[in-house]
């Protein structure tokens, strides 16, 4: 009577690799357990989530690419073909595949490949910093807001509304302008900018969980609120939070690139992919490859995050309800 229909066509179909029912049992026997063995996959919501991610080709490839980038970032100083800050004014603006400069050189004769490799480290670190700031602000606030509700929630949501009404990049620019340009300041600003995303997500998830019957059941059992939070609410926010991290990482990367492009992020001689585009921009007519390569890398990385986010979100879909 309360079974909801999923769609116009699937309402009558329970399409799944079926388990044939047990034969030859007399009517009225209690065979629910025998006739309908549980489906064969193990694990809780989190490991179930991981299992589904593993089945999603896009997500797996994205994770692989991401892993590769992390490895490159970690071992960057040992794999650069040349010192990324080593200038050589005799060989400036060399095109790719020049001798000793696989991807060419910049206006100061520095090896672009080496700078890109070191830039991986800067760019990924920047993402981590921004995400950390965003989550430190957004997650607890969202959690409390969702869990406590009432006046506190109203206050937090008003603050959140105010934060969301700032054009994102502009606020970051203003903050960096005031704090002084540096990668750290830029990423703190970006983190503040991204915090509302986490706040809204966590708040929504927690409010949803509070409505779940299993939380009410736990209350009716007499479980302490503290225990309910630790055992029921927190574990179930984990998977949606993971999705949000993947999606938000992409935005963090774009924001970092934008700020560095404006010269408000990483400061010379260090390079992030964003600041390399800035340099490339100045020589767009003479040496377009300067800006092209870092742009491609940024686009690829963000694309990876987007794909990962999509894959994770698909894996998050509510479990299907099998007929009782």
């Amino acid at each position: 009577m309360t079974q909801s229909q999923t769609g116009p066509t699937t309402s009558e179909l329970s399409v799944a690799p079926g388990a044939p029912a047990a034969a030859g049992l007399p009517a009225g026997t209690d065979v629910a357990a025998v006739a309908h063995p549980p489906v064969r996959h193990r694990g809780g919501a989190w490991s179930n989530f991981r299992r589904r991610v593993a089945k999603n080709t896009g997500a797996v490839i994205a994770l692989g690419v991401l892993g590769l980038l992390v490895v490159i970032a970690v071992i960057a100083p040992w794999i650069t073909p040349a010192d990324p800050n080593q200038q050589d004014l005799r060989s400036v603006l060399l095109p790719p595949f020049s001798d000793g400069y696989l991807l060419g050189s910049d206006q100061l004769g520095r090896d672009i490949l080496s700078r890109l490799i070191m830039g991986t480290r800067v760019s990924l670190l920047a993402i981590v910093l921004a995400l950390a700031v965003a989550m430190v602000i957004g997650v607890p606030a969202g959690f409390l807001s969702g869990f406590l509700g009432g006046r506190f929630d109203m206050l937090v949501m008003r603050l959140n509304d105010a934060a969301m009404s700032f054009p994102p990049l502009l606020l970051a620019i203003a903050l960096v302008g005031v704090l002084g340009p540096s990668l750290r300041n830029a990423m703190i600003a970006v983190g503040i900018l991204l915090a509302p995303r986490f706040l809204r997500l966590v708040r929504g998830v927690v409010i949803g969980l509070k409505e779940e019957t299993f939380v009410e059941a736990s209350r009716s059992i007499g479980t302490r609120t503290r225990t309910i939070i630790v055992r029921h609410i927190l574990p179930n926010t984990l998977s949606p939070l993971t999705v949000a991290i993947a999606v938000t990482a992409g935005y963090a990367m774009l924001s970092e690139a934008g700020l560095s492009f404006l010269g408000l992020g990483v400061q010379p001689p260090d390079a992030s992919w964003g600041s390399m585009i800035r340099e490339g921009f100045l020589y767009v007519g003479r040496a377009p490859w300067l800006g092209i390569f870092p742009g491609v890398l940024i686009a690829l990385t963000v694309f990876t995050f987007v794909t990962l986010g999509d894959g994770l979100r698909d894996a998050l879909g509510r479990e299907e309800r099998t007929e009782s």
Partner: protein, 347 residues
Amino acid sequence: MIETEPLLDVRDLQVTFSPRKKMFRERVSLRAVDGVSFQLYPGETVGLVGESGCGKSTTARGLMRLVEPSGGSVTLAGRELLGLPANKMRKARKDIQMVFQDPYSSLDPSMLVLDSIAEPIDVHLDLDRAQTVERVGALLQRVGLPAEYMYRYPHEFSGGQRQRITIARAIAADPKILVLDEAVSALDVSTQNQVIGLLEDLSRDADLTYLFIAHDLSVVRHISDRVAVMYLGQIVEHGDVDRVFDAPAHPYTEALLSAVPLPSPKVQRSRERIVLAGDPPDPSKVPPGCRFHTRCKYAMDVCRTVVPLPTPTIGSGEVTCHLHTSGPQLAGASVRELTTPHAAVVG
């Protein structure tokens, strides 16, 4: 049965919802449960029936203090539950447990069946881990599932199996009362019958007392000893199940029973159908006088203004209807004895 002390005594229970005040809007408080009283005696099953929105689920959640009642009293084995401080209330919950309607959202998807069933054991019983595991295994077997299912997660089970698991959880700390809130409504008929069979076995073996809340009257007739009928936040009639079903004293009960189609064409053709006009009641718009008068075919003038009081009915229980007090004829008899509606209106 009436000789013994009630195990659960609900008196004049009130649950009021007051939605948050919106700017420029009147605060409308909504009395979802308005003075509900009933008793549960040890070992019996009391059915609580009514249509959606009548307040039967809110009654359950109110007496469980999952929503805070705004008035009345709930006495469990002689102890008043309303107003009990949080830590004492937590302890008191050992004796009264609940099974919910939706078997899918009743179990935490991130927890092993073992941990779900162990929750009340952890809270109320002083057992070590090995004893807990052993007890959970026994509980699973008791509800007709293999013990090794405890190491699985809810998503691996069908709705019927999940409902068995939630029943195992509910009885894990040896409660005296189970509040079953539409516990079988979401299951299809075969599974539903199996779960009802299980509940009947449990009540016999473990001496459990049930408050069985449902909208399916056929199931309620089957499982209940006594039944109470709710309309718009109040109980309009209660009594032994056979008396209420065979000789309903309240026009609403009569209409409700007559609306259930019976799976027998001959019987169905020969029955008199009473089709109530209008929609089921909206608890934010309570009519004056008798709450049912807007849809009642016997409505008299007095019904529109005066609130009726409960009267004993012939056989057992009480009915809250002017036909029995202000009308000329019924005084506790079945409303089916009324031949024509006009007879009542004359008085």
